[in-house]
């Protein structure tokens, strides 16, 4: 795509326009079910940020999306489209849960956490390895294999939970609740200290783990030799070959890092909130991650912002469902879809017009910052 947009337009203006359109269409849907879209919007925003509880939940959901967003982004930097974060996160959950089940009863959380992190990440990485390997060595399209692996992961976890991990006499396919050592501290105290008055919130320490991962990913991609290799692979495989960057190795490792990040997502729901492993810990976060990465332009800072947006949708949407009889929880899913559609798939819909506009300004020399991208 010939990109004659100045950076600020590319990173801020365009996504903003796309979002706006997405929300307008969502508004129309709200009208279709006979509610007042402005009231809905207000309920959503207030529900997400209006109260300490709301903020807690918003950040809790955002944590998931930061992890999956990073996961997708790392792969994209290597020119890979990993839509398997969903499955990788689920399998990562197994790693986290096992760590907590085994150790939770014997040692405190701060000793369990590192183990859980290692196991979650490595389980996720393992699930990312195979598609990576198949892409790099056998040339199987990573998009298709990762779709398949999502379903294989679901079946696998289903089997494990039903036939192995479910304690006897328990109804649902879930593990037993972990002992205290498998519980990450909630951030309730911190939030209250910061002046929010919340009795309890699912927001937990893994939020900070996510932020740390953002920093690490930034370092990896822009400050390490391997990250340099990843970006070269992603931007010009032929140049990578010329530079002696081994394609297969780079692709496989990138997919493992991507899977590992997805796997870490499981910390948040499993060790941070539910304190047990259930089948629906991921809830589409893997797919939302695609949109988060796209909107965040694959940069950690952008990803955090996009993740907050989707966290707001989840939490605010739930609140909206509380207070609007005819609007059910499914509204969230619709808005999500529309945002992914307009900010993701249709992100270039307005680019030509914008480009022409800026090119014109550039030609007239009105916008000097356009020079950089000319």
């Amino acid at each position: 795509m010939n990109n004659t947009l100045p950076p600020w337009a590319n990173y801020v203006l365009l996504p903003a326009i796309n979002l706006l359109v997405a929300f307008i269409v969502s508004g129309l849907v709200v009208v279709a079910v006979g509610e007042n879209p402005f009231k809905a919007a207000w309920l959503m925003i207030d529900g997400a940020f209006g109260s300490g509880r709301g903020i807690g939940f918003t950040l809790f959901y955002a944590t998931n999306f930061i992890f999956t967003g990073l996961s997708v982004a790392v792969a994209i930097h290597c020119g890979l489209f990993n839509i398997g974060s969903e499955g990788q996160a689920l399998v990562g959950g197994l790693g986290v849960a096992l760590a907590c089940l085994w150790l939770g009863a014997y040692i405190p959380w701060w000793m369990v956490l590192p183990v859980a992190i290692v196991m979650g990440a490595s389980f996720g990485a393992a699930w990312g390895f195979l598609p990576g390997y198949l892409q790099a060595v056998r040339g199987s399209h990573v998009v298709i294999t990762t779709i398949m692996f999502n379903f294989i992961a679901a079946a696998l976890m289903n089997w494990l939970l039903v036939d192995w991990l479910r304690p006897v006499g328990q109804m649902g396919p879930e593990t037993a609740v972990f002992a205290e050592g498998g519980w990450l501290p909630k951030l309730t105290g911190l939030m209250n200290f910061l002046g929010a008055d919340v009795r309890s919130t699912p927001l937990n320490l893994s939020f900070f783990v996510a932020l740390i991962c953002c920093f690490l990913v930034w370092v990896l991609i822009w400050r390490t030799r391997f990250g340099y290799g990843i970006r070269t692979m992603g931007l010009s495989p032929s140049a990578a070959k010329y530079a002696g960057i081994r394609p297969a190795r780079t692709v496989i490792i990138a997919m493992m890092i991507s899977g590992g990040l997805a796997g870490l997502m499981a910390l948040n729901p499993v060790m941070g909130d539910l304190h047990r492993l259930t089948l629906d810990i991921v809830q589409g976060a893997g797919f939302v991650g695609i949109a988060v990465a796209l909107m965040g332009r694959n940069h950690p800072v952008g990803i955090v912002l996009a993740a907050l947006l989707f966290g707001m949708l989840y939490q605010g949407g739930a609140e909206m469902a509380f207070d609007m009889p005819t609007i059910t929880r499914d509204m969230i899913v619709v808005i999500q879809g529309l945002v992914i559609l307009f900010a993701g798939a249709l992100e270039n819909m307005f680019r030509p017009q914008l480009s022409r506009f800026f090119l014109a300004m550039h030609r007239r020399g009105v916008a000097p910052e356009a020079e950089g991208a000319a």
Partner: protein, 322 residues
Amino acid sequence: MDFNATLLILDSTLRLSTPLLLAALAGLYSERAGIFDIGLEGKMLAAAFAAGAGASVTGSAYAGLLLGVLVSVIFGLVHGFASITARGNQIVSGVALNFVAAGATVLLGQAWFRQGGRTPQLSTDQRFLGSEPNFAAELRDIPIVGSIVSELVLGHSLLVYIAFIMVPLTWWVLFRTRFGLRLRAVGENPAAVDTAGISVTVLRYKAVIICGALCGVAGTYLAISQSGGFNNNMTAGKGYIALAALIFAKWKPVPVMFACLLFGFLDAAAIRLQGAELPVIGRVPVQFIQALPYVLTVVLLAGFIGRAEPPRAGGVPYVKER
């Protein structure tokens, strides 16, 4: 397993593969034209809802079918607009439309019918139901052959027959008509089609419309033939299995049919094996059978059993000017 039980499983295999077959053929048209479509799931779901709602409101199965197809085609056109005109990412577009369908169906269903996203139960005359021709009874008396014919061939719903007729029809369209020639070409090398004086855009839009229509029939089948109304998330991943089948069949019509029958059979078997003890093996984990289609497909993709090479131009928007 005795003869009769086998027949019954095969019979239900037919019923269960029908939606897969329709969806997979839909995907075939789209992907052969170079438009990847992981939105089969969403299209089917939307169509199922439209069909269910349509049939219950108008009281006519055919109206339901019409609406189902219409809605699914609209979804197809959105996907087309995103991938052909806006040159967006086809995978992302598919993901997005799946989300929209999953949410909107239940949301609207709840708002309109207040039955937890379900559409009202349909009476038999508002549905596509198989009716056994009266000679089926006599046929049964003929040993083996008779019962095979009457069980497997006769008494299915109209849509089942449509699905299976679509297979030879698709083959014929693809390999015996001008449209088919161009469709195959545009999926491999759009520039060749362009320089041959044919509009890539129009051709690809035709493809996504056909894809939408077939998904529409698939969804309709789910909602008002296989069951008596729409039910939230009633596709339950069938769209992805269809996709797997399409790849497993290397984008060829007749193999697609066999792939779908295989996957349908696995499903039929899984249903009956749920929690059941088998004589020798003991208790087979059903989840394993459920995962089998995907595992098989990956093995194929890995090139261990043949090679699955997608259409060359698949997934890439046609851009002349970098």
